[in-house]
Symmetry: C2
Subunit: 209 residues, 2 copies
Amino acid sequence: MDKSILEKIKFNSEGLVPVITQSYYTGKVLMQAYANREAIEKTIETGFATYYSRSRKQLWVKGETSGNKQKVVKIKIDCDGDSILYLVKDYGVACHTGEESCFYRNIEMKKEEKPDPYEIFHALYQKLTQRKIERPEGSYVASLFEKGSDKIIQKVGEEAIETVIALKNKNREEIIYEASDLIFHLIVALVDAGVKIEELQEELLRRYK
Amino acid sequence: MDKSILEKIKFNSEGLVPVITQSYYTGKVLMQAYANREAIEKTIETGFATYYSRSRKQLWVKGETSGNKQKVVKIKIDCDGDSILYLVKDYGVACHTGEESCFYRNIEMKKEEKPDPYEIFHALYQKLTQRKIERPEGSYVASLFEKGSDKIIQKVGEEAIETVIALKNKNREEIIYEASDLIFHLIVALVDAGVKIEELQEELLRRYK
């Protein structure tokens, strides 16, 4: 990776810059820490997120002890050069509590039961994978997996036709409902086939121009 | 909104805490700034993102002059309480350069031509809307809009059937290709119908349990 970014960063009086760490595929903000020049150089050289620990006063390769290293796909810099962003993948969990993100509590200091909208497709994928493994009693999705691939594929076709009819009816509520149903069942089918949303994202990005 | 978060925030020696601002629906990290206690109180009270400007040494209601106010849907706090996250919507653009995000440059200090994977569905929606308006010569999508709603709806049906066949063939590459085609054309149909991805995200969240 090119290191010209280093010349543009405005480090603070302690020689540090705040770093935001974000999941490349889901968009989840995982943590916020600090880096000095050396930490950023090491991140660029190794491809793994490196920070500067203000408490331990030393470089800190995230995941060196826990195993949850963060593979850095991109580094971005903000308009005035005093904040940077690591986009990471294959990171396991980022928080020492075992949560995926350090930002797991809301304003009432509670963990929320639902994901944020930007991550809903990935959250569904994860939830449906769990249903496939655990097969909880009374779960609609578990019953789909029970019936097998043909039934799941059939549902994709069915929901697509219902979406087509909703689109023809030009009924907004119906379109929202049926297109959501289609996406939901498409995700069930992807889980069933072992294809990841990440793979679709990469395919759509490849075509994007 | 509950203000109990304020008791848990560890402000630094200047009485500030870093704030990450993220788009609620797309996941895009828009900016990183600072807040003092008063700024967070004002954010909670007004529902609009308020920061503390270190250069002007005063409270700063983002968008008060530019009009690009940020509607705060959620506030989150990190595990050790020294960083907070504003999830915002209806924000227009966040950067004074006119870019949506302040983090618009990569490590080579260039603006990237492609979106990041986490925002690909929204980026496609935006691009396809642009194609619908501008109808550039030779564009496949422009020709679809030219042919009208029936042709677009027909494509959704076609791509769904191709996805069904790919799933039946259990061919990974084919599934990735066809499911991407289906999503692509579903987004064309949503643009055509004036239905937003945000509306599907809300519907899927509503069902999420």
